[in-house]
Symmetry: C2
Subunit: 423 residues, 2 copies
């Protein structure tokens, strides 16, 4: 039992079996997270008959994610290809959000708030400055601000902070609103939901023809999309090329609500929100982030724990997150714990996703790979969905995804393989 | 929204209105916490027709309580009358648990585990030693143990602890099991549950005759028991004598589950529980307790917060509890947060409960007061229920309750009143 109270999206379970199991789908999407749902929605809008197979759509890593759309402050040394992919996807986000909101009539909380990366002490400042130099070299839009200036922008930052990176184009989206909207959008564009677990791919003669479910039932299809996050390797019948190194990295995040108003408070005296921009902190070498929503709540994250498929929230994780957040923004102490959730980031050996269409020589032509998005699943949703739906329709995908095929893990000396290239 | 996941006791709502609202009850109990439920159960077993009025029985402070039955380690300077009441109730606990378990066939987890009061640093040791001297003077069964001996008894205590009080007769009960058993016992002895809020007492001519509900309906009755914890003052028509100083003191407690076993662990290698006895800590002047259940889980508490009727769980409360617990028992870090709940302890001006039958001169003859149990509600349940049910049947109550009438708050210089006695 976790401390989580799920507000389950409703109305997406219990697809009528007779309507689903007898049909032949153009595409079966395995995994109902943001990647799978967005791909299904877009493919369906392009006229394909699509099914999403997931025992509990929307409740994997997507449900836990904070929703930072932060290519700049997530930029890491040696991950330039990923940066270009992330920037490309960030550019798609505005139109993606607009289309989704127009299709569903819902507000997904896409907020152009910018992100501040705050250095807590002098060592943190040094690390942040190095990142800043790296970002400047890459031509990213980022500015260094002094501690004083940072506190003028966000007065609830701790007095002692040493400075901050200001990335005005690193935005956010309310992840659970996004998930619900994608479920609605799929529903409205007649994507079929199959509330089961996919256990195997069938590709007789090297051409994908069906997805087998845990119940034993086969869904026949012209193509399949593997978008099951950390569970993507657990499907049998994967071609060798698709068996890339993949592991779950647990992240715990907390949702904090504003402190309840006292009896004497009136609407006129309601306090301003604690933060107005996303604040990421480097605090004595550790990382923490606070993502402020428009309603005054804050998403506080996240741990990085290598504990297999365990999704419990440990006392230590809670303690670490709160301790770091309090140092950076002391006022969080007064906020109320609304929810604690753990999700599993699907991590590959080089932290980049696998986005690729399997060709005729793979042994599973018609299989599309879209998993391993690690920390960047929400950010990379538009470009991944765009690539997946393009491939399913026989169109070319955006250039930026070309670096993210699975073959990069096969070459001698590649990430995840011993230096001598022996598998 | 709190982080709480209630496992609601079921089957106690929805009493058939026609069966309840037309009847005249011998006693209407206002408040379905442990005090009200135990009183109703025992009165019903003695042949009275009893109703319990509570919109959500069992889910107030009782649901949050840790269940320590600890008269010795709860002994405070200047509260000797309360100590005698507590010791008397502790002596009743074994038979009370036995009867309740026999009546319901359920296990309420009454565990004769003893309690250790651990001193973390030298200052804490000094405070604990003073309490020890006080306890010895009172003739309580308690022994001082060295830090080494304490760690031999409980090997997961922090290495640096300075010593401990060992109170072998301070036991525990699983509060939520107790609550469910009391609900069942009431159900089986045909106590009527009225899922509403009581708003007023009616006592025309100075004799209680009815309890008015929020819906406007009147429950006619020969007697009423006011056992609504922190809400006991919110009922209209209270006689002046019953209007004692009363305030809610918020306590946050966490329920921790053992860390999930790894794949390699077999039943043979299952780790022993972190603790086997209740451990209370004095940690740099702050208090914390860990109550180990038989299933390896631990109840960790508790904050003391003066915030009115607010029952949210703040980030600061979580942080403080976890920080203190980690100092005392570092291994809790690995445990899993299963639940975080806040309850409101009903506190009077002298920390003692109000347990009394109103006489003919009070203006509400037939009213029994049983509220204000503050930190000791679970411990004091047997003696309170025994007194209440005796009064309802016209029998004498145990001697120890005689010091806990409401008139103690009326005398000049009494607790809760200015020194000059002006009200």
């Amino acid at each position: 039992m976790s401390a989580t109270q799920h507000t389950a999206p409703s109305g997406h379970e219990g697809a009528d079996a007779s309507q689903v199991y007898g049909r032949c789908f153009d595409a079966v999407v395995i995994g109902g997270g943001v990647i799978g749902l967005a791909s299904a929605w877009q493919a369906s809008k392009r006229g394909l008959a699509v099914a999403v197979v997931d025992p509990d759509p929307g409740h994997g890593a997507s449900w836990a994610a904070a929703g930072m759309l932060a290519p700049v402050t997530e930029a890491h040394y040696g991950e330039e290809a990923l940066l270009h992919l992330s920037l490309a996807s960030a550019r798609l986000w505005g139109a993606f959000a607009e289309e989704l909101e127009a299709d569903t009539g819902s507000d997904i909380g896409y907020r152009r708030c910018g992100t501040m990366l705050v250095a807590f002490d002098d060592d943190d400042r040094m690390a942040a400055r190095q990142l800043y130099e790296f970002q400047l070299k890459l031509g990213l839009q980022v500015r260094w601000v002094s501690g004083r200036e940072a506190r003028e922008m966000e007065p609830n930052l701790a007095p002692g902070i040493r400075g901050a990176l200001w990335a005005p184009n690193d935005h956010q989206v309310r992840t659970r609103h996004l998930v619900r909207a994608l479920l609605d959008a799929c529903q409205e564009s007649e994507v079929a939901f199959v509330p089961e677990r996919a256990v195997a791919l069938e590709a007789p003669g090297g051409r994908l023809s069906a997805v087998r479910l845990a119940s034993g039932i086969r869904l026949t299809c012209g193509a399949a999309v593997l978008a099951a996050g950390s569970w993507s390797r657990s499907v049998d019948g994967l071609p060798e090329l698709a068996q890339v190194p993949l592991r779950p990295v647990k992240g715990v995040i907390l949702r904090l609500a504003p402190a309840p108003l006292t009896a004497s408070a009136t609407p006129e005296t309601e306090p301003p929100p604690l933060l107005t921009r996303t604040v990421r902190g480097m605090v004595q070498g550790s990382h923490v982030y606070l993502v402020p929503r428009a309603d005054g709540s804050i998403v506080l994250g996240a741990t990085s724990e290598e504990r297999g498929f365990d999704t419990t929230v440990s006392v230590g994780a809670l303690h670490d997150l709160i301790r770091l957040a309090r140092r950076l923004v002391p006022g969080v102490t007064e906020m109320v714990l609304a929810d604690a959730t753990a999700g599993l980031r699907p991590a590959t050996a080089d932290n980049g996703p696998v986005i690729a269409a399997m060709g005729g020589d793979s042994g599973a032509e018609g299989l599309v790979l879209a998993f391993g998005h690690y920390r960047n699943g929400i950010l990379l949703t538009p470009i991944t969905a765009s690539a997946v739906s393009a491939w399913l329709c026989g169109d070319p995908a955006p250039d930026e995804v070309s670096a993210f095929g699975p073959s990069r893990f096969c070459a001698p000396g590649s990430p995840g393989l011993p230096a001598d290239g022996v598998r």
